[in-house]
């Protein structure tokens, strides 16, 4: 870490402003946590740990819980059918009741994916530290927050102390300059970044996304990008706040008001990397040249332009990359040289903490309006939160999806990881707006191609991986 008077990067400023104890003799720094988001999967053992040690929650007023990973997305008025899922959700309800933590349960209008709920309530804001027992906590970095996924032991640590012992990170600037072409979106930017730096390329770093193409993005787009920072191995990703951030926050239930708002804005405007500050690493991406991006393999770094083809592993220099690509193609049942656009899918999933916000649904609906789902395909649309669902219905988007032939569901993580009944069938191929194409992620032997919402929509219309421009003429 640099001295305070030196020019600092955005991440270093946040570190400085949350430092409780500077670690000595190799000990980590103790960092204060402003907001702790909790869900049912990674918290029961943490609450148990508190109970065993006879400890209380330090700041229940900085802690909030929701149910998302296990929750069904249809027939939500019925008891959760799967007994282990029901038990885990019940454990969260009992734990939050016992410890006095606010919870948004299934059926509540603020229930939904934890990374959609925080921002929509206005709890996620610039200049704060956010943690959650979920790797996609990096999403909240879109506001200029330092947001990290943590393990269950750390969840317990934050519940008990509202702090975390952390080793300072290295910093990496991801400069994305230029203007995106029509049909190219935030998802394509981040898939291109991960393909470039690799799934381990961000390891040990906090990424700061910068440049004109990032500044031009909405908050939803910035969240999509920061969300997948973890897929490049980074501990966090962030975007400096600006007028777009402030406008998104203004008037949300938990956004500061009056004098507090003015004070906050004054501070938030200082939250950018100083002129002359240096990053440990810099990466450059030309937005002008980006095509829609899609994955062909079984990790998010195995991606290619939608205009390209399935690569040939034999051309890879690194033996472990070659082996990994060969295994991926076998699992994905793809032949080298196949044009990506010739790949036929069985199902389309529009949802997940990456792409389930109102803007994502609007972008897809615009393409689907008046069209019909390709023959033999299924499609599921899962809004990120109940509030997104309500908003979408007020705009008539649900009708567009249903008329098109898609299923319109209730909020949750759903088929992104298939902890609830929503799964991609065995040996079925999915175009999915989620974040991980890992082996078995969306169900046993399910084959996932990660795509943007508009590519998902164009694919649903044509039946093969498609870009919006394929729908013209």
């Amino acid at each position: 870490m640099k001295l305070a008077e030196q020019p600092l990067t955005l991440a270093e400023k946040l570190w400085r402003d949350h430092l409780v104890v500077k670690g000595e003799d190799g000990a980590p720094d103790l960092i204060y946590i402003d907001l702790h988001l909790v869900h049912e999967v990674t918290s029961p053992q943490a609450f148990d740990g508190l109970r065993l040690a006879g400890r209380d929650i330090r700041r229940r007023d900085l802690t909030i819980a929701t149910e998302d990973h296990n929750t069904p997305t249809k027939d939500i008025h019925l008891p959760i059918a799967e007994p282990t899922s029901a038990k885990q959700v019940q454990a969260l309800r009992e734990n939050t009741k016992e410890y006095g933590v606010r919870i948004h349960s299934l059926g509540d209008k603020n229930q939904g994916i934890v990374h959609v709920v925080g921002p929509q309530l206005g709890l996620t804001m610039p200049g704060i530290t956010v943690v959650c027992g979920d790797s996609h906590t990096s999403t909240h970095g879109a506001f200029g927050a330092l947001a990290m996924g943590i393990g269950t032991s750390e969840v317990e640590h934050v519940l008990a102390t509202q702090t975390l012992p952390l080793t300072p990170f290295k910093t990496m600037a991801i400069n994305v300059e230029g203007t995106l072409r029509p049909g190219v979106s935030a998802k394509d930017i981040i898939l291109a970044i991960i393909a470039k730096i690799g799934t381990g390329g961000g390891q040990g770093y906090v990424l700061e996304y910068r440049g004109s193409a990032i500044r031009a993005l909405s908050m939803e787009g910035r969240m999509t990008i920061c969300n997948m920072s973890i897929e490049a191995g980074a501990r966090a990703g962030m975007v400096a706040p600006d007028e777009i951030t402030f406008e998104y926050l203004r008037g949300r239930p938990h956004a500061p008001e009056g004098k507090d708002w003015d004070e906050a804005i004054e501070y938030w405007k200082t939250l950018k990397t100083d002129e002359g500050a240096t990053f440990d690493e810099e990466v450059f991406i030309n937005a002008d040249e980006l095509d829609p991006f899609v994955t062909w393999g079984t990790n998010p770094g195995q991606g290619v332009s939608l205009l390209g083809e399935v690569p040939n592993p034999s051309t890879y220099q690194d033996p472990s990359d070659r082996e990994s690509a060969e295994q991926a193609l076998k699992y994905m049942d793809l032949e080298p040289g196949t044009k990506m656009k010739d790949i036929r899918v069985d199902t389309v999933f529009l949802g997940s903490c990456t792409n389930s916000r109102i803007e994502d649904l609007r972008a897809a609906a615009e393409l689907l309006k008046g069209k019909k789902l390709a023959e033999g395909l299924t499609m599921m649309v899962v809004p990120g939160s109940q509030k997104v669902r309500i908003e979408a219905e007020s705009e008539g988007l649900d009708k567009i999806f249903k008329d098109f032939g898609a299923e319109w569901r209730f909020a949750g993580c759903s088929a992104c990881l298939g902890m609830n009944p929503d799964k991609v069938g065995e040996f079925k191929r999915a175009a999915s707006t989620s974040n991980r194409n890992f082996v078995g992620r969306q169900g046993k032997n399910a084959r996932t191609h990660l795509v943007s919402p508009v590519v998902a929509a164009a694919t649903a219309i044509r039946g093969t991986l498609s870009s919006p421009s394929d729908l013209e003429g």
Binding site: D25, R102, S135, E156, G200, D260, L417, R436, V439
Partner: protein, 200 residues
């Protein structure tokens, strides 16, 4: 947490790179609310293959996993470490670990030691030449020995100290309770609070 110094146990040549935590333990095993008993989920998909290394007679009751690069990527699930621990593993070596996974290991008394790429290959070859051979892991000297072969591993000093002392992180942090309280007294009014407000 138990104090760790050195131990000897069967090593497994795990010739896979980019092993994400979904591979280590699929989401289906994450629905439990207990903190132990995850051994059945460990590499459950790979274990369906009878030839998989952990299904071979020589590698029963193993304690040391030597894996390829980028081990433990993806999901933050600590269940991945619980599964390894419950299966009996006390140490994992790889040229590169995902940050959250490595941190989770440190909380559960599992050594996540970083070794050079070339040393990984040497260890694999040495173990495969003598399947079921016991490796000696020595935390104080940061070495792992396989027969004549001795390899150094990296682990950060703080985690090493905590593992060797068997210390609980929360207890260490609470020694600074006064500093946390002082920090909180300066917390700006605009910073978020989760208590219900109008319009929620």
């Amino acid at each position: 947490m138990e104090k760790i110094s050195n131990f000897t146990g069967i090593g497994v040549p795990f010739r896979y790179s980019n092993v994400d935590t979904d591979q280590i333990i699929p989401a289906i095993y994450l629905k439990r609310i207990s903190k132990t008993g995850y051994e059945d989920g460990l590499f459950s998909t790979l274990r369906q293959d009878p030839d998989f290394v952990l299904n071979q007679d020589a590698y029963q009751n193993p304690q040391v996993l030597v894996a390829g690069s980028d081990f433990g990527t993806g999901s933050s699930r600590e269940h991945a470490v619980w599964a390894l621990r419950d299966f009996g593993f006390k140490a994992v070596f790889s040229p590169k670990f995902a940050d959250i996974f490595r941190s989770n290991c440190g909380k559960q008394g599992v050594i996540a030691g970083v070794i050079a790429n070339s040393d990984t290959v040497k260890l694999w070859e040495a173990m495969e030449a003598n399947p079921g051979i016991e490796l000696e892991v020595d935390l104080p000297s940061q070495t792992v020995r396989c027969g004549e072969l001795e390899i150094n591993f990296e682990i950060d000093e703080y985690t090493k100290w905590r593992l060797s002392e068997g210390l609980d992180d929360i207890g260490i942090t609470l020694q600074n309770e006064d500093k946390i309280a002082e920090f909180e007294s300066r917390r700006a009014a605009w910073r978020p609070k989760t208590l219900p407000v109008k319009g929620d």
